[in-house]
Symmetry: D2
Subunit: 337 residues, 4 copies
């Protein structure tokens, strides 16, 4: 429920109402605005009838939250959220570029790539220490050693770092090393993991599942917010379709659809979204033009010898060109790159 208080309602009134909402087993939300305070009540909405809010003299109006995603939707949170990745904000008019290798392989490879992407203007570093791979016989990531390398390179370059977490048991360890969590497409509906991330306060980049509708993605994000962590960034990374010219089909229309429905920032991953290095630059530009809040892009200092996803990783000079080409488009659409 969304409960709009009258202009003269005091903080005490609001607190009292929130106590009563909580007593019903619902989750109360306090959302002060310029003119009025708005309260939220998340949970079984039928319970709230017993509060007789309609006849409460401090309540102006009560209306149900229509969307199934209560905290993620714009109904109770109409303004765009800004999420801080380390000192780097995502959302709110900026275009935030997170770049780096698919996997942390060695200190040298990670450092060389990080220095290159920083030089070209990337705002944050990505790199996987835990790699979910289709085959058990493929490189699975360096684990803790990879996290240590990533942290060292992040500290050296001053770039905040983002890395994937694949399992509840690793959340604490990853939190110790990374500035933000990333969850992969295969884990979008690993609800235990989402809940565990909801109990952290570090940002979470939640990637859309390969067969997930936008609504499923928003409900997955709701799991994280419902546990108390509002620092969620969504990420479109391609869906599964019949087309085989690309690894996935990058669904850029998801960006404006999400923007209409949710206040959370949205990134686009053109690397996984296409699977082909040659398509990363045009699709990155398109992502900026259609309103995405940034990119998650794979760059490797030596793509042909990458241990994973080399085919879709940009060479450093391609990334530099990409950043150069993004700038005039950002200016044209009124975004800060």
């Amino acid at each position: 429920m969304i409960i709009v208080l009258k202009p003269h309602a005091t903080r005490e009134h609001a607190d009292e109402l929130m106590r009563r909402i909580a007593a019903l087993g619902l989750r109360p939300l306090y959302m002060p605005g310029d003119q009025r305070v708005v309260l939220g009540a998340i949970g079984d909405e039928r319970a709230i009838e017993s509060l007789h809010l309609d006849s409460d003299p401090m309540v102006e109006s009560v209306k149900p939250i229509l969307a199934p995603y209560k905290l993620v939707g714009r109904e109770i949170h109409p303004h765009d959220s800004i999420v801080e990745l380390g000192r780097v904000p995502a959302g709110g008019g900026r275009f935030t570029v997170i770049a780096g290798p698919c996997a942390v392989e060695t200190l040298e490879q990670t450092r060389a790539t990080a220095l290159a992407v920083k030089r070209s203007g990337a705002h944050a570093l990505r790199g996987g220490a835990y790699k979910p791979r289709t085959s058990p016989y493929s490189f699975q990531g360096l684990g803790r050693a990879g996290l240590e390398i990533l942290r060292a390179v992040a500290d050296e370059t001053g770039l905040p770092c983002v890395t994937e977490v694949v399992e509840v048991a690793d959340v604490e360890l990853v939190e110790e090393f990374a500035d933000a969590f990333q969850t992969g497409a295969r884990n979008m509906q690993n609800f235990r993991l989402l809940r565990a991330l909801g109990r952290s306060q570090k940002p979470v980049i939640l990637k859309r599942g390969m067969a997930a509708k936008v609504e499923d993605l928003l409900l997955a994000a709701e799991y994280i917010l419902a546990e108390g962590n509002a620092n969620v960034i969504l990420c479109e990374r391609g869906i599964t379709t019949f087309e085989t010219a690309t690894r996935n089909t990058l669904d850029l229309s998801a960006v404006p659809v999400i923007k209409q429905r949710s206040h959370l920032p949205v990134l686009v991953d053109p690397s996984h979204g296409t699977g082909l290095r040659e398509l990363v630059t045009p699709m990155a530009k398109a992502a900026l033009a259609c309103g995405a809040d940034g990119l998650l892009v794979e760059v490797h200092c030596d793509p042909p010898n990458a241990l994973s996803d080399g085919r879709q990783s940009l060479f450093p000079e391609q990334f530099e060109a990409l950043m150069r080409e993004l700038r005039p488009i950002a200016a044209a659409v009124g975004r800060v790159l």
Copy 2:
């Protein structure tokens, strides 16, 4: 086969070779370049062995055309094609906007819409006289009367006009009235229709089928070129996926994929591609940013009362805003709008 002639080969040599190619039942192509003449031979490539071109003193090299789409691919035609829609060129650095109602309903509605889109900067007018509809009980278009209206409005406004043709028997009639044909997604593999359009010289805007891979689209275009009409413009208009938030999933990555493989211009139809008016503007911008050669966009002078597709048609003032917002992006990516 691609047959590169030596620098000193004369036109007579080329003609003689083309006669011998034709005599084998293959289709000869003459492609003069700056330095050398290149010949093509389209058809069963095994036949060409009997010509012993390897030992021909005027032939520098012979290589097979690897792609299954011979005339559509870049192997024998590396440079971008420009197709003339009436006096309006598509391709070659321009961004060509074709706008108008889904269906021609009345003279007034068509004229009002055409005047509005012209004022905002559209280059050509679209409008359907034959409407393929899922249900037999829906409005099916005005037929010949619709063509007459369209022609009258095109003449009045000076905008070249594009309209859908759905059947071989109508090709001649449509050709009489329209400046360019359009084929719908449901007819992308109506090969008889494609062949009939291949025997015209008017341009054809060929829309991608809902379940067609890019390769299928290029092969469908090959049907038209193989009959002799090279004036083909491809159009991405959304594919069928599991996502229900949009009517189709607009596959913008098809644009750079097609650009790599084919010399033909590529439009994007963000109206059918999304099915939602609110998504047309962001996806139109994305189409420009990722390299499309133009748009096919539905605009109606009164969308709530449109006889078809009102939900995805822009209001005239939205179209005007779209054109205004496209201009700085066009400048940023070096395109002429």
Copy 3:
């Protein structure tokens, strides 16, 4: 609208009502039952209000047809339809097997295949004279010569024959030679062709489009029935999905879904549905078990040398084994094979 007449209503009453329905521009239907006569009125249902049927003394009840497919649905036609293919019935408890080559190639090949499938118990012969092919450079069928071969072999073997029609202009010719039309997946929404077939009285096997929902298929059939031809047999032949192990994904659940909604018979084409000879037999058995009314199956006397679809064509001995294995299953599910 469905208009149930009172038990004592006479034929004259019914005729008078049908005249009044027709006068409104709606299509009247006469459906006599055991107890009562039921009338249908197909078209813009709002018009019917002016008849004030509620107060007509001969009318027991009036209710709208809820499904968008009026003639195809079970609301006005609750009992299963039986469609006659030549002298062979499809629907109504039988399991009708239509077998033969993908394409008519020669008289010898067609005769050899027809004799083999007849010997094994097939009820009808299939064979294409017009082949829609993805590439313009593939074998496109023998055309009229193919129709002549098919007719000759059908007459010789006594098997009714089914062949694909791809174009309005060919309908008359195909009708002259074949016992039933078949339309391909690519033409499921070629509405002109559907209308033309609706003006014939020969049966039409309407194949589901690759990206068509069941509802789209039923609406496509409605085009044929709305023109007056009720002899329609639906055919599930696989849909486009992300899976690449099979050519298409055979959606057998479409069979019981269609059976719930429509009175028309439903065949399954396991050859196109899977694209792999090894999968034809198991999927044919599954089709029988889940309630399909028959099969459309490709058999070739020499699959490795077939001009099209050899990979999915059964060898004659495989077809014989299939028929042998289908018999006990048919008995188990109470069907006549």
Copy 4:
């Protein structure tokens, strides 16, 4: 690698070779046959060259395993596997029916359902204690209390029980209570969970992911076998497609495709595969007819009041009818039900 030993090779030879294979960091497999012993070497196949097996006098032939799934494929394990669920075998000519409620809700509901399905001939009981739900506000299962109920009912009825595990941390607990694990479609590529299950010896029913190709499913199973647990049963449960008439599209052709490639048993879940109670029976029959080794089917003693998936749960009398109808089909296809 597959290493076929000569007929006279002794067990000592085999052991010596296996020691040398293990010393290279590869996993040795011992597979005695009627005529010859076959060894396997799983891992980086290039390493094995250093063993010079070609010149080993006890080695008859050496060939690579072509499929990416080494242990799951038929190359080194050509015969069908039988997996024991408690005392109930799956695979090897039987048709094993696992039935029960979507979720364990109460002792009474679980017991009533179990008694009903047992009476009708089910071989094992299913019931979820941990329910992955799209929305955080839906019923998420009883957890440990649910496991206790399931065990009690399994012991009372003598039916072995199967339940879903969603998280590595729960594996030990679930193993304590259940006779077999089940993993859900959303967790098919939760590789940590797969590895943890691979370290158990209890059977695992691995459900196909909604966007997973058959090859992806086989590779997911390889994760479990590679850790040492060969008791894996695969389960087709519907894939994500554009069709909305059913919840998912049940891909029955996956059954014969898997049977060709893998020795593991394959179940079909027609409940999730269709999402509609009315379709469960026809699709269950089709599953039996096309070669599946059994069913995973949802039955509830009171579907309209089920806390989850009521729409797709059979009433007990429907399940009884299903079992009755399956028996003659099983006889027709030579299977033991």
